[in-house]
Symmetry: C2
């Protein structure tokens, strides 16, 4: 949670009298309230407070911000007291909710994008700690999953055991449905986990994260089930080299897209860059995918451009991959904290070739 002073400066910078925050991850960031989808934060020059409804009588205790538990008409009365220019989160707020707000408070409603996300770019020590705890749990789940990888076991069974393990061990849950992609399915970067059974001689890609205190982790390993040779093994070592070259480049002041470019160059030297069909990495925090983007398109396209240059306190994944259609795929993903001197690895698993 940023100091109140930062929030006042934010209003000033945006030329706003107030900011009405509805995106759950931003509400959680500002308040710590664990039911952010049923709450909002109203930020004014007098300060910030949480708004929620009578389903949450204990909001005051669960929120770091002062909380107001309001019925619908009480909330309308409160909003009708707003004056001047009031910002809303344009990428999140549905049109009908904006119309309802306009009716309750006939002020100038001003679309904003990325205002709170910009504050979330650099993680505070307690945020890094939550991500670290999530990653530690995910690594234990990964070790557990390795014991299950046998021919005949279905991908979805492995994914289910990972989720169960994470929750049993105290995570709020998996940060996202675990990916277990074996054999030819490894060529689909967003494959999920299917009914397919693992077979000997296949690569298996495991991409998983845990959620702790609202914060996510994210990492990937690709392991061989039995003997695997040929183009997939070559791809593995190309991906590994791309990963390590990219990690070497990361430090404060480096452009996010330059890190992506470095990994792509390594793959290009092996003729594999056209099989690397996604971005190199992304920020991780209250969202699994957040700014900054380590991407060739970093700074392009619509939306706010956050994190174009790396700074200490950012937490990002570095995850090159090679996807050979009809053959299979490899992805290796590390989770790193950008530090003053370069990086600290938050993922601590060995990353070399591993045959089970």
């Amino acid at each position: 949670m940023p100091p109140v002073q930062d929030l006042r400066e934010l209003l000033e910078r945006l030329g706003l009298d107030a900011l009405y925050i509805t995106k759950p991850q931003n509400v959680r960031y500002l308040s710590g309230f664990p039911h952010p989808e049923d709450a909002e934060v109203l930020l004014t020059e007098e300060g910030a407070f949480l708004l929620t409804d009578p389903r949450y009588p204990e909001a005051e205790r669960e929120s770091r911000l002062p909380a107001k538990v309001l019925k619908r008409e009480e909330k309308a009365a409160l909003l009708s007291g707003l004056r001047g220019r009031v910002g809303f989160e344009a990428a999140h707020l549905p049109y009908a909710r904006l119309m309802a707000l306009r009716e309750m408070a006939p002020v100038e409603w001003v679309p904003t994008e990325g205002a709170i996300e910009a504050l979330r770019l650099k993680k505070a020590p307690e945020e890094v700690e939550a991500i670290r705890r999530a990653q530690a749990l995910a690594e234990r789940a990964f070790h557990h999953a390795l014991t299950l990888l046998k021919p005949g076991v279905r991908e979805r069974d492995v994914a289910l055991e990972i989720e169960y393990f994470l929750k049993k061990e105290g995570a709020e849950g998996a940060a996202f449905p675990p990916i277990v992609a074996s054999g030819v399915r490894g060529a689909l970067p967003h494959a999920g986990a299917s009914e397919k059974a693992l077979e000997g001689g296949e690569l298996v890609t495991l991409d998983l994260g845990a959620r702790v205190a609202g914060y996510a982790s994210d990492m990937t390993r690709t392991v061989a089930l039995g003997q695997v040779d040929g183009p997939l093994k070559e791809a593995f070592f190309a991906v590994l080299e791309a990963l390590e070259s990219a990690l070497e480049l990361i430090k404060p002041g480096v452009e996010a897209k330059a890190v992506d470019a470095r990994a792509r160059e390594v793959l290009k030297a092996r003729g594999l860059d056209r099989y690397f069909v996604h971005s190199l990495g992304h920020g991780v925090g209250l969202e699994v995918h957040e700014a900054p983007a380590l991407s060739p398109y970093s700074g392009q396209g619509p939306g706010p451009h956050l994190g174009l240059v790396l700074e200490p306190g950012m937490v990002v994944t570095v995850e090159p991959g090679v996807y050979l259609p009809g053959v299979g795929g490899v992805r290796i993903e590390e989770l790193v904290l950008v530090t003053e001197g370069g990086i600290e690895l938050l993922s601590t698993l060995p990353r070399g070739w591993q045959a089970l």
Copy 2:
């Protein structure tokens, strides 16, 4: 999925040349596509088709509607061909996405609410079948959970075993995080499952649902762990009577709010109506909570008013509850299909007093 003719009539009734559907449950309803959060449906006088992106090369196979797999600029080109009045889903579409659409297609964008939800009110036989399968799985999970209810077991462990059971047995997942609320926590209707351990002499409320083929189920039982007497046992039988009175009333042509009122009257006769702090029930389908609402406020407030009168093919819960602050609570929830003659119970568990 409604016949194409119904969709054409919908456009005509709304006075629209096209309708751009973004709410995932509506996209799934129209197309069957299992990744509806990454897709839209465009409905024009020529027909309906699914739009998605290159992450889903197999969309054509996975969608009942013709599918177009488009890159961003291809989608922009397609939308730029729109003419006339084009509806969008105001309760779902974020303001920024509407602005982007306006830029791609300078037509008259018209807010609509509840257009597809209205079609979803009456379930087709195959939809009822999916809900039935979900409910059957949930009932098996309930029986499994009963074997776990012992003093010392934490609520969250029971909830986790329910989720695991559901997925292991083939559900897409739990329809919502299972509620396991014991002792005084039973007084919180939306309590979730906590670290609290069960104790002898408590009531335990289990509220759970499964998801199958996109469709949810939802049901609740409250059971006694050991000996429970006094006001909670009295509340149980009052809730049971309220439930059964409400079930008797349900048939086509009855107002949804009259069913709610009937249950409230029964509780009032026992002086317990002020402890019944939520609506009597809700529709169930692709969403756990959808229209119709069996509620005193049915037909009031903002938003479209769908399902004010019950019709054959609607699937609703009936779930009276009594919540005694600081003491505990009781809720019993049945899942029913409205038929020509009255109801068919989709939930088949015994609903009487059960002490473990």
